[in-house]
Amino acid sequence: MRNELKVGLAVLFAAVVLYFGVRFLQDQPLFGGGYRVVAVFDDAQGLSEGAFVRLNGVTVGNVSEVELSPDAREVYVTMDIRGGIEIPRGVSIGTSGLSALGEVNVELTPPPGADAGRPLVAGDTVRAITTPDLFDLLAGESTGITARADSALVRALSVFTSLDQTLANSGDDVTAVLAQLRFLTTAATQTLLEERERISGTLGALERAALSAESLTNDYALLGRELSVDLTEDLRATTRDIRQTVATNSDSLEATVTQLNTTLRNVDRTLADLSTVSGELDTTLALVNSDSSSLGLLLRDPSLYYNANAAAASLQQLMQDIQRDPGRYAKELELVDIF
């Protein structure tokens, strides 16, 4: 199978799986569309995107968007309803579930009566009613709960009172524990007094060691000063030596000037030789320019230039071809198939 076909099939397969997978997880019909209806709530009570829309307890769609109105006084909830589901006009729309558990859904209840008129269509907007959350109901019951909590607190107070009495009766045990603690403290103090001499001896040894270190530091400082004086004297002696050497070598400067004169005479002779070589070179160039010598033919024959030019053009064409399709020339560069 060709690579193009393999890749094409895989991409198409992935696209189809992705599309239908998302539709399936969104609880939308795989084929065919539904319609959208917008419900206006005063309080969305924690409703979020993806929440179910249930009609008489049966899931008929889900919430696709929850957004505040421009003045932030209302909430627009867009619902995707499956195709084929007819929601009668006048339907009662509210929320159900516990927002604390993140399970708030939209609950649709059809109006009473057999004929409720034509059903909702795509784009319709319906006013929703706000049903109280379970926690709101609990808040309504708060007075009774407070009274019950008050009686529970009275009972807890009586329990604590009896516990306090029990602790008062066990006062002797606490006294015994404190006496034992006092005995232990006295023993620790006595041990410290006995070891006092050894501790003071250790501290004295430390003090002597510090004094020795200070004396050693002073010795090193003295040694440094002595070394510095010696070095200064050595430097003065070396300077005197250098001056004497310069005075002694004044004769050798004259000898150097003599050698320089000799070198200049040698340069004159070399220039005369160069003039001779130049005359010979003129003779050779005259031969090259004449048609009788082979070198002259090589330089003046135009066919040689045209041949070289044609060869360069062919080489350039070959390189361009190699760069366009290296595989044609690099068949020998076989890659190692490891996996």
């Binding site: 690579n3 997880l25 760069q323 690099a330």
Partner: protein, 270 residues
Amino acid sequence: METARPSPLRSLFEILRPLLAGPIRVIEGVGAYSLLLARAFNLPRDLSPKLYLRNTLTQMVQVGIDSIPIVALATAFSGGVVVVQAIYQLENPLLPATLVGTFAEQSILLELGTLVTAFVLCGRVGARIAAELGTMRVKEQIDALEAMGINSLSYLVVPRVVAGILMFPLLYVVASTVGMLSGLLVADASPALSAGLFWEGAREFFKVYDVVFGLVKSLVFGFAITSVACYTGYYAKGGAEGVGEATTRAAVLGCVCVLIADYVCAALLL
């Protein structure tokens, strides 16, 4: 004679030199990697687009199509394990059974689908690319391409990286689908759950953005794994030992890059 004392700054540098060697090597590596990518994607005009397309298609088959079985196998088991653990952890009379489906769907689409795929491909694709380029390097085939006037980086690196970027999202789709289906099978086989409750939970908190996030992550992972493998392989040194070292580095560095990219994507996109 008193010896000259080194400056405090120099002394500090000498003390810190062993500690700084590692970070400096890492910074140099990042620089070399960036330069390699810059040179590779500076496409020369004289290399024909048809040649690029042919090479890229070959790499797409090797990176993507040939990896489907191993990716499917890995995510099938991962999806099953997620559901088993979710049933174990959420077994509480106060929690609805549908939470298992929610937990599995979020785990697979947001994390496992991409991460398991990336780890499997670090070993399979990353190591393969590094070994391939490393062998070409030590056998001087890359030098031969350069001698022929071909930009070896563009010729070798670009098709592999492009194939990785294009095929990883496809593998993510396969991995997520297989993971969810295996989770469904495990849920259905469990006495604590049914397939219906599993799907109900999965649908309840599903958002399209979960899939978009997974696809974006797979693009990033595809680029990271293939480009790092190209870098280690292209700069392989020595003989067979160097190729082996480059292969190991490609797998390890690829995994590290995937983990870092995973955190960055989560921090930026969630």
